[in-house]
């Protein structure tokens, strides 16, 4: 029980980073698989809606390990979310809490604010921006960039690939612009 209590606390960044980094050699040793998750979205398109598009004409079944890995993430998160949480509020920096309060976000009980991430928001402007447009940018952007945080920022940088460094710098630049310019504007406009 002591061990379970220990695991249920939020993990320190060094432990978390170490375990995420170890996914790189684990996948290589398991079967020469290159860490990267956004490819799973492409395989889903190739499997379900290829629509005679050249980009989706390949043997996706050969890459099906990636879909199993993605399904595993879903399952692992279910286990962690239901059995490995300590029930405490998410600890967030005071300066960020202050900024989020001005957006109307006050609920820190989970890892995501219910003021945005709930079904009631789906058919509102908030839902359109945070789910539909945001999701579209993730799918379009990662495929155009040839990878995401896992494929470029972790796998690519681990293999000292400069194109992955370019991609990572652009991910960060986009994120800074979004969090400091666009998100404040979106909430200003919504209220």
């Amino acid at each position: 029980m002591q061990l379970l209590k220990f695991i249920q606390q939020p993990w320190h960044w060094s432990v978390s980073g170490l375990l995420i980094g170890l996914t790189v050699p684990v996948l290589l040793i398991l079967g020469n698989k290159v860490f990267g998750i956004s490819s799973s979205l492409r395989h889903i398109c190739a499997a379900c809606f290829p629509a005679n598009i050249t980009f989706f004409k390949y043997d996706w079944k050969k890459e099906s390990w990636n879909l199993f890995f993605a399904a595993g993430i879903l399952l692992g998160a279910f286990i962690a979310g239901h059995y490995l949480q300590d029930g405490q509020d998410t600890q967030v920096a005071a300066a960020t809490r202050e900024r989020l309060a001005s957006y109307g976000i006050h609920d820190y009980r989970a890892l995501l604010p219910p003021e945005i991430f709930s079904w009631q928001q789906l058919f509102t402007w908030k839902g359109l921006i945070f789910f539909v447009i945001g999701g579209f940018m993730i799918g379009f952007g990662t495929r155009y960039a040839g990878g995401c945080t896992s494929g470029h920022s972790i796998m690519g940088l681990s293999n000292l690939q400069w194109p992955s460094l370019v991609a990572t710098v652009c991910f960060m630049a986009g994120g800074f612009a979004s969090a400091n310019l666009f998100i404040p504007l979106i909430f200003k406009w919504l209220h």
């Binding site: 978390s16 290589l28 979205l41 980009f55 399952l75 979310g81 960020t96 952007g141 994120g175 969090a179």
Partner: protein, 136 residues
Amino acid sequence: MKNVKYLLAGVFFGIVLVKAQVISWFRIQEMFQLTSFHMYGVIGTAVVTGIISLQLIKRFHIKTLSGDPIVVAPKKFSKGQIYGGLIFGLGWAITGACPGPLFAQIGMGFSVVAVTLVSAIAGTWVYGAIQAKLPQ
């Protein structure tokens, strides 16, 4: 089933993503508002761990479980890493997720994120459809 091991690797990774809180919209806002070191610590440690692991694999010619040599293809540069990277970055801060965390957010109980995932699949599809017309 040879794919079960990847499912298990995914389960492990999914647990880590939740416990590391890197799938938290709050943590992503902190990272981009520069109010917490957490995300930088996680990503930095992960990259250092990955670099050391790959160096060890190369130095000691470590093989896969089935005895094959480990090979990692180099990444090719394209303008997509700039344009696509910026577009993804914008979406990352808005949703608080990259593709892996989308699966994790759904798994931990935020079922509405399934809409975000469907939209991300649509984004990938549209990229595939117009790829030839985009600067590469």
